[in-house]
């Protein structure tokens, strides 16, 4: 019983980590998106349709969901990445609300074994049963979530050390100066938005299959706001930052039952205080630089 509780919390942490990483990637390129929940939603529906209605295997459904989310991100990116600051934020928020409202009326059902399956407007999309039908246990599914999270995280860590990662940070710091290094900032920003869409999409697809049921109202703006807050709490200096943010919120705050009723208040207060004392989060660029220096020192001492 408690075991299932633990597995559920850990699975939630894992799934939410994807959308946190997604928002983090955009924060690194200097854009605040209030709309990453849209890509989470698009992939939740897309992958659910693929497995529950078209009978695709689950792995293909996950891949499909992530790709659909990436394609949606491309559609959003092309007109919006030229917008600066607040305008980009408002545009992403508007897009996400539009997606949510479309799912409120989106109905696409087919009859499978005498039952109607598929999205049914505001009643949501039931019976996304692929993992239960293939006898994947909750524990095994948690391992799948963390396996994929590990792959994505390793991708982020490689990115961090790469030219592309350096360019993303440059854009976040000074887009005009980046442009003057001979780099087409618009192109790189589109790439970042698409990558972020895919990452959020992986989380959405995983979510739909664990919950077996999705409805439009889950994907409201609070999900996107949390995703942003995670990076801002944990720090923008490393991909571990947003994961720390998720762990603090879901792992710590949600599991301390004494504050259960006040979780949002505690969380909101935490974000407010951190934004004042550490505007780029706990593990910001300077903290990471210090840690890397210590790490190099240790390695040298070993040799």
């Amino acid at each position: 019983m408690d075991d299932i509780y633990l597995i559920t919390i850990l699975s939630n942490i894992g799934m939410i980590s994807f959308i946190a990483l997604s928002a983090y990637l955009l924060l690194v390129v200097g854009e605040i998106s209030f709309g990453q929940q849209a890509f989470f939603a698009v992939s939740a529906y897309g992958s659910g349709i693929a497995t529950a209605m078209w009978g695709w295997p689950i792995w293909l459904g996950l891949l499909w969901g992530a790709l659909v989310a990436g394609a949606a991100a491309l559609v959003v990116a092309i007109p919006t990445v030229r917008l600066r600051g607040l305008y980009f934020s408002v545009a992403t928020l508007a897009f996400a609300e539009m997606v949510r409202l479309i799912f409120e009326i989106f109905t696409y059902q087919v009859e499978i074994d005498g039952e109607l399956v598929g999205p049914d407007g505001s009643d949501g999309f039931r019976d996304i049963r692929a993992i239960y039908d293939s006898n994947v246990s909750a524990f095994e599914y948690m391992l799948i979530i963390y396996g994929l999270l590990a792959v994505v995280l390793i991708g982020f860590l490689i990115l961090e050390r790469s030219r592309l990662g350096a360019i993303f940070r440059m854009i976040g710091e000074d887009p005009m100066l980046t442009e003057m290094q001979g780099l087409n900032v618009t192109k790189y920003k589109i790439l970042a938005v698409v990558m972020a869409g895919i990452v959020a999409g992986i989380g959405g697809a995983l979510y739909a299959h664990l919950a077996t049921y999705v409805e439009p109202k889950i994907f409201n703006v609070m999900l996107g706001v949390h995703a942003l807050a995670y990076g801002l709490i944990g720090g923008l200096g490393t991909a571990f930052g947003p994961l720390i943010g998720v762990a603090i919120d879901i792992g710590l705050l949600e599991s301390i039952r004494a504050i259960s009723g006040y979780r949002m208040i505690v969380f909101g207060g935490l974000v407010a205080v951190l934004l004042i004392v550490r505007p780029r989060g706990l593990l910001d660029e300077a903290a990471m630089h210090w840690l890397r220096g210590r790490w190099r020192g240790l390695i040298r001492a070993e040799n």
Partner: protein, 255 residues
């Protein structure tokens, strides 16, 4: 054919005529001084060439090609690099990364190899960066964040970063600002070495010891207009120039 040619270049900020029908021709291989009192339009001229601000009227040609209104990344790709009056570096990146990305922008960027192009670059590029660090006297600081460098080091890094993109024309906006005499001498030597190596340089500067010594020719701006052009010695004697600097001699003019 001049390497850089400005024809009736004009920039208005609302009612301010920051640059006003400026004609300028910089020959290949020369160090060209661009001076003038505060607010006379020097930085705006540099920004117009680099595509950072939009051109109101007129034309910018580099190596005979019209680059008026080109995006900054295209101007750089064409072979023009610059430094800033207020140092601009990527403070969140290390010294090494600042140079590495600039170096990449001309080399591995064209590589067909996916990993080279997007991720790690080639060994040759990395070696080139190490050499540049050495040349800039920053080898010991390679893993430092650019934001943590001392002022003089930041200036050297900025110059190194501009050079890393392998420009044929270098635009320097007050590189000596805030430097002590010793540092100005070092900069003087560095500029001459670059000229020896074939670089063309446009030097915007208030520090007259540097400008008068190192430049081949000078143009003087006042209220966005060119009021004089010629050899340094002639500029120093020019009454219109002395008038522009509020009656004082050019030598005494400092920012």
């Amino acid at each position: 054919m001049p390497i850089l040619e400005l024809t009736t270049l004009t920039k208005h900020f609302g009612g301010v005529h920051a640059v006003d029908e400026l004609d300028l021709a910089v020959e290949e291989g020369e160090i060209f001084g661009l001076i003038g009192p505060n607010g006379s339009g020097k930085s705006t001229t540099v920004n117009l060439i680099c595509g950072v601000v939009s051109v109101t009227a007129g034309r910018v040609a580099f190596e005979g090609r019209d680059i008026t209104g080109s995006a900054p990344h295209r101007v750089l790709a064409a072979g023009v690099a610059r430094t800033f009056q207020n140092i601009r570096l990527f403070g969140h990146l290390t010294v090494w990364q600042n140079l590495w990305v600039a170096q990449n922008s001309v080399e591995d960027r064209r590589s067909e190899n996916f990993a080279k192009r997007w991720f790690f670059g080639s060994g040759a590029t990395r070696d080139a960066v190490d050499q540049q660090l050495e040349f800039a006297g920053l080898a010991g600081k390679r893993n430092e964040l650019a934001a943590n460098l001392a002022f003089g080091e930041q200036r050297r890094l900025e110059l190194a970063r501009a050079l890393a993109t392998k420009p044929r024309l270098l635009l320097l906006d007050e590189p000596a600002a805030g430097m002590n005499l010793e540092e100005v001498h070092a900069l003087d030597g560095r500029l001459r070495a670059l000229q020896q190596a074939g670089m063309t340089i446009v030097l915007v500067e208030h520090v007259m010891e540097l400008v008068m010594g190192v430049t081949d020719r000078i143009a003087v701006l006042n209220f966005g207009r060119k009021i004089a052009e010629g050899l340094p010695a002639a500029i120093q004697e020019d009454p219109a120039v002395q008038q522009a600097y509020l009656g004082g001699g050019v030598e005494t003019a400092h920012a």
